[in-house]
């Protein structure tokens, strides 16, 4: 039979005392789509980095089409035929698309860049991903989905034998995800081996040929994708069986409106959006990427400017551009960009948690900070939220996993007892186990009377958690669904509604 394009045997990798990858062996045939799933910290990214030449394995061997394969860096991996599309986009926004595509080997003539050849090369590459763009455009003007596709185009340019995709759909719209699926089928036909890492289990199950489940750095299970389903996968990934993904809904009494927005608008982003959030209610905001969901939340919170509209908390008007006033009135905001807008990465866990409540710990007249009380409050939250860490006072938040980091962000607002939580993609990049905790926390907060605005790109999450869902499309409220009308297909249709009109 044909030799596997990619073979790993007994790969080991440690970081200090921590064994990130333990005796991992797998094989990927030509034209096969191999799905790699596992919680955060299971070793998926480390494994990809080893295959992609970014990291060196401590032990074990790799073979590429039967030949020994041991790349010393990313460039030699690429030269050998292994292309790695990272999760964090590696494009340079200040350069053009064409320049980005050819950057490591710009075509020159007499020392100067030959623009014609560069443009041709770019057009060819973009064609391979069905992206119809002017290659001289600066990448800064592209949407995140377009940028991801350019990254994929760049990887394909080297005519790889193996393509490593790390969370490729995280910045793609539904339509672009569809496109990716078609491309993957095309790659199958061309005999490229694809290793596909994703948290979106339904997508993986639907489109991969075989699956490898990692847990704690070791392979837990390997098999054809059709032999797995979510119910079987989760215990393999997490090591315990979960009855349901979402905490059971208990009937709650919802109080008067705690947040009201009227006529919020900003040119090109949000159009005349009005909404009401009641005490104890979890309101979901659905929509495609670019529909204006995050922008809406930021406008309500006061982080971004608005052209028109008012926001009321408990009946009182909120100043339009003052996060400080918003926080003082009980609002909380968790940005989708946790690392850059959620946490002070080099500060301690205690510092991060107490950031919004500092006045509480400062005693007059000199405003002396009570470090002991902060540490005590932080410890209490750590145990309440099951955050796995060592020392709240000395440990930097940077060392925590994505799930634990997100819990720290939520802890910050819980410490303040916020009454309105605006959560933007709170489970993005969060492993299954931590996700459960986050859902629990949201439920508990709502049960205590807080209103929660939940923005999410995962329809299942919204369907499982929310009491009501608003669908935004092209910046305007397209539809509203009460619990009894929840339906995946009508939701998606609503999300697409205005878009189709615009794009046709």
């Amino acid at each position: 039979m044909s030799t596997p394009t990619l073979e790993l045997a007994g790969i080991e990798k440690r970081f200090g005392e921590h064994r990130a990858v333990r005796a991992v062996s797998l094989a990927c045939e030509p034209g096969e789509i191999l799905g790699l799933v596992g919680e955060n910290g299971a070793g998926k990214s480390t494994l990809l980095n080893i295959i992609g030449g970014v990291l060196r394995a401590d032990a074990g061997a790799m073979r590429l089409a039967g030949q020994s394969y041991a790349p010393s860096n990313a460039a030699s991996a690429l030269a050998a035929g292994v292309a790695f599309v990272h999760q964090e986009l590696n494009l340079f926004a200040n350069l053009s698309v064409a320049e980005n595509l050819s950057l490591s080997a710009l075509p020159t003539r007499g020392g100067l860049i030959c623009r014609r050849r560069m443009r041709e090369r770019a057009a060819e590459a973009l064609c391979a991903v069905e992206l119809n763009l002017d290659p001289t455009l600066p990448v800064a003007s592209l949407s995140p989905g377009e940028r991801q596709l350019v990254e994929i185009a760049k990887a394909l340019m080297s005519r790889p034998r193996v393509l490593l995709l790390d969370e490729p759909t995280s910045s793609l719209t539904e339509r672009e995800t569809q496109l990716l699926t078609e491309l993957m089928q095309r790659w199958k036909r061309e005999g490229i081996a694809v290793v596909y890492v994703s948290h979106q289990l339904e997508h993986v199950l639907r489109h991969c040929d075989r699956l490898v489940v990692l847990r704690d750095g070791a392979v837990q299970a390997v098999g054809a994708a059709r032999e797995f389903d979510i119910a079987r996968l989760i215990p393999l990934m997490v090591g315990r069986s979960l009855d349901h993904q979402f905490p059971p809904r208990t009937p709650r009494r919802m109080g008067p409106p705690v947040l009201e927005a009227r006529g919020l608008s900003r040119a090109g982003v949000v159009r005349n959006v009005s909404l009401q959030l009641r005490q104890g209610e979890i309101l979901g905001i659905a929509g495609l990427m670019g529909a204006g969901r995050s922008e809406l939340a930021r406008m309500i919170f006061g982080l971004d400017a608005r052209d028109a509209g008012e926001v009321f908390i408990g009946g009182q008007r909120l100043p339009p551009r003052s996060p400080r006033a918003s926080v003082a009135r009980g609002l909380a905001f968790a940005s989708e960009d946790r690392r850059h807008e959620g946490l002070l990465l080099d500060a301690t866990i205690a510092d991060n948690m107490s950031l919004a409540s500092l006045e509480r710990f400062a005693t007059s007249p000199l405003r002396r900070i009570d470090h002991q009380r902060i540490a005590a409050a932080a410890d209490e939250l750590v145990s309440r939220l099951s955050i796995s860490c060592r020392d709240v006072r000395r440990q930097a938040v940077r060392t925590l996993s994505g799930g634990n980091q997100q819990k720290v962000v939520l802890a910050r607002w819980l410490m303040r007892d916020a009454q309105v939580l605006l959560l933007d993609e709170p489970t993005r990049g969060v492993d299954v186990g931590s996700r459960q905790h986050v859902y629990e926390l949201i439920r508990q907060a709502a049960a205590r009377g807080a209103g929660v605005l939940l923005i999410s790109s995962e329809i299942e999450e919204l369907l499982g958690m929310c009491d009501r869902i608003l669908v935004l499309s092209a910046g305007a409220v397209q539809a509203e669904f009460e619990r009894e009308d929840f339906n995946r297909d009508t939701l998606m249709a609503a999300a697409f509604a205005a878009v189709r009109g615009r794009y046709s």
């Binding site: 970014v54 860096n73 990313a74 460039a75 690429l78 990272h86 590696n90 494009l91 340079f92 926004a93 200040n94 350069l95 320049e99 950057l103 490591s104 710009l106 020159t108 020392g111 100067l112 860049i113 119809n132 002017d134 001289t136 455009l137 600066p138 003007s141 949407s143 377009e146 971004d304 400017a305 615009r502 794009y503």
Partner: protein
Amino acid sequence: MKPPTQRGHFPWRWSAPGLLYLAIVIGFSIAAPAFPSIENALNILVQMTPVAIGSLGMTFVLLTAGIDLSVGAVMFLTAAVGGALVVSSGWPVAAAVPMMLLAGAAAGCANGCLVTRLGASAFIVTLATMFVARGAGLWITQTRAINLPDVFRGLATGRLGGVPLPVLVLILAFVSAHILLTRTPFGRRLYAIGYSRDAAQTAGLPVGRTICLAYVISGICAALAGTVQVSQLAAVSPNLGQGIELEMIAAAVLGGTSLFGGRGTAAGAILGAAFVQTVRNGLNLIDADPFIYPIVSGVIILLAVLIDSWQQRRESPRRTHMSAA
């Protein structure tokens, strides 16, 4: 596909300072009749050449999110070297000038290697080399001024086809810088590195070498600027270039170069230098109190930066993070 959004190609970041510049030119033209003339324009060009050349070199360094505080001291050091060669060792000027440029390149190379190898901030490294270069220059000149032969002055006052030589040097420097930045792989890599050092590293770009070369170019520009300055004064004085690095940085930033790297053009550097020199020239022509000069320059810089910042905020309203060096 996507509806056509604002897909701008050229960031007209300096359009507002450009308007301010126009306003200043008009103002001075009204106040001083000698201002709006070809002779005066050439005068401005000649006077601004050292700062303009220096800010061209500074642009290369700023693009990598670095900074070169040693430029003024390197100007002095290379001028001291040249002066010593010509006056004490009797070298002909034609041979001394290339040596000066070489000295500048060497100083730049030292800067570049230290910044890339030590992994320390360029601010503190070039701060230190500024001390060392100034000291070395003072050593060579023994803190005395060197008077240069008249041949040097010929470089400043000579003309080719009616255009003063310094201006020709400036044009040459500008064209070279522009081509380097926009049409060579090296230039494109500079922008990439300035945007994200990590991404550039992952992409396999020769980051260390590129950054080092940026500092070498800055050193060469410093030497060239020193040569022009020295030819205008026909002497090497101990405080040559003192504080000029801040003027060059201001010129580059006025012209749209970002201190955080990844953004900037050669044309912007020239325009920024023109801005500052035009103001100085205008003040001179209206016989302003010499003590006023620094005040006015400072106020103008503030105004230009204010306008630029306001404009930038309109374009990207999310930029709230502020940082210095």
